[in-house]
Amino acid sequence: DVKVTQSSRYLVKRTGEKVFLECVQDMDHENMFWYRQDPGLGLRLIYFSYDVKMKEKGDIPEGYSVSREKKERFSLILESASTNQTSMYLCASIRYSNTEAFFGQGTRLTVV
């Protein structure tokens, strides 16, 4: 079974802090994604990576950056956390030749 693991289930951070969300997948998938889920808005794509050190912006990249130094690991960085970044963050991976993405368990981030 594909496993996508996010480092934290719950996080509480202060406004202005730099926040790192980590994601690791064990199936050698080429493509990895970061989404955020908010009530009434569904899942929105923040960033996408198709290879080590390669990234592309999604629909809502403002206030975020990403890092992919190893194929299995994709990190989301909130440079200076703000209260409007309070959300559920979901990491996903997918093989480039497939259609089905596998998700991690999610990180519920609260910025106070």
């Binding site: 899942l43 198709y50 996903a92 993405a101 999610g106």
Partner: protein, 115 residues
């Protein structure tokens, strides 16, 4: 501009009956369609998918129907069980692997199975 629409925020169905969840899309470039199930405080779990070359795909109690001309797909769950109570997301992609567009998701439908 919402490219994938789930117009019913919630749906209540009696246990044992059929649940039908609907999804509409506007982007004619979408070729792959997926349904995900999500429990609170967990990540989405893949349920079933269909490509645009098919009009039906079945997996156990779950069947997805695709009507390309109407840009509409639906998920049928028969029979509905209490464990099916969750939020269901419809997703679409123009290519394998998701690409820079990722999967485009609808806003979800909260399915409630009544005993």
């Amino acid at each position: 501009d919402q490219q994938v629409k789930q117009n019913s925020p919630s749906l209540s169905v009696q246990e044992g009956r059929i649940s039908i969840l609907n999804c509409d899309y506007t982007n004619s470039m979408f070729d792959y369609f997926l349904w995900y199930k999500k429990y609170p405080a967990e990540g989405p779990t893949f349920l079933i998918s269909i490509s645009s070359i098919k009009d039906k795909n079945e997996d156990g109690r779950f069947t997805v129907f695709l009507n390309k001309s109407a840009k509409h797909l639906s998920l049928h769950i028969v029979p509905s069980q209490p464990g099916d109570s969750a939020v269901y997301f419809c997703a679409a992609s123009p290519r394998r692997g998701g690409g820079a567009d990722g999967l485009t998701f609808g806003k979800g439908t909260h399915l409630i199975i009544q005993p």
